[in-house]
Symmetry: C2
Subunit: 217 residues, 2 copies
DNA sequence: CAATACCAAGCAAGCGCTTGGTTTGTAAAG
DNA sequence: CTTTACAAACCAAGCGCTTGCTTGGTATTG
């Protein structure tokens, strides 16, 4: 799921540390093992919901994708909406964990800012990209209770952002209102999903530099 | 539909000029008169599609919103999807026309860039905001033919952007790859729909300045 | 007296989900 | 090592409802 082309010892440590955290979350029951039946169901759901949208995806589509009968889905989740909610919960938990690890490794505010940008870009254009897009685009299909639940998880994630941006402003690294900066960034980074192709001329790391260049002068 | 709080003579001229262009397009049959039955249908559709999403909106919802029977919709448009397509077509035509008028009034590249940003922001957070969001979010619900049709219209709009950004780069006003700049901007500006509130502390014009500040150093 | 705009009724298809029963994996009991 | 027990995973069938859209007819308008 993470970036595969890592090389330096520090980055290898980081990857290992991250994998360790993920394993802990799986054991604690907060994250579904992607190799389990449930995990494969969620991955297929993320892909289908991203490709066709939640409403256009039928439980029969989903069942076919994982090779079971449509009724059997409801052994794993009580409703179709609960599957959507699980997809969103998983991706937020996964990415929050990765961001925490990367932030810890960053030495100064500038590096932290770049780490956040890179993390979000990797989330959006990388392995969890389907689920991330679903998280943004299919919000309306959640019932109010689920919305509140996911929103609470997202707030943890957003706090990491706001803390870092506020520090950058305090240090004079960037200028402007932190909230507006974050919101411009949210839009710009999530939109990369629609046009950036991994493996093309530009690397994700270079793209992160371009985004950072917009903020820091 | 346009901004209401205009004051200077130049801006009044601009508004008048714009209204004149719109009237021409209505007479030419390219734009639907918003006061006609069809026009009110499209406005209601834009609002519903934005609020609930295209798939979640039933033809019965739509018919109730305009005060007719569900079957009567199909006197105006052959399918539900055609209504979605019309909503998108209208908003692209409308905003392309406004952008052309504003560009003509701008004296230099910096002003042109600001005019484009302001136009797009007004499209997104103003009267056509519902339709603009639908244009971005409901793309998948169009059949391939409709997608091609709308895409062709959008390309005209995007050409106005790319020409201006290329000029700005050539003049050294902004730095970076024009395509990446436009794509970052597309995401950042369209995302304002989700958080910016017209009539709040910040005006749309101020927001445009903030966005411009990201680009120009 | 056409053309336009609409209503009232309903059809065929597809939807999420339920039900009752069967297979499969696992682990203690004999 | 075999048997028994039991829960988790899944199948086959289909129910009740909603969906987009059709049809045949009726007002309204220029």
């Amino acid at each position: 799921m993470g970036a595969k082309a890592m090389s330096t010892p520090q980055e290898q440590d980081e990857e290992q540390l991250f994998a360790q955290h993920i394993r802990q979350l799986i054991d604690a029951g907060q994250l579904v093992d992607p190799e389990s039946a449930k995990g494969r169901l969620l991955q297929a759901a993320a892909k289908l919901f991203n490709d066709q949208g939640f409403e256009r995806t039928t439980v029969r589509d989903l069942a076919t994708a994982v090779g079971i009968q449509s009724g059997s889905l409801f052994h794993h989740y009580p409703t179709k909406e609960a599957i959507l909610c699980a997809v969103m919960e998983q991706v937020v938990r996964f990415n929050t964990t990765r961001m925490r690890v990367r932030l810890q490794q960053a030495l100064n505010t500038r590096e932290k800012l770049r780490a956040l940008i890179l993390c979000e870009l990797e989330s959006v254009v990388g392995g969890t990209g389907d689920a991330m897009t679903v998280l943004v685009y299919e919000w309306r299909s959640l019932n109010p209770d689920s919305q509140r639940y996911i929103l609470a998880l997202r707030e943890v994630y957003e706090d990491l952002w706001m803390t870092t941006i506020a520090a950058a402003v305090a240090e004079g690294l960037v200028s402007g209102d932190p909230f507006i900066i974050r919101r411009f960034l949210t839009g710009a980074l999530s939109w990369t999903k629609t046009w950036f192709k991994v493996g093309g001329q530009m690397s994700v790391s270079q793209l992160a530099d371009e985004a950072l260049r917009l903020l820091i002068r």
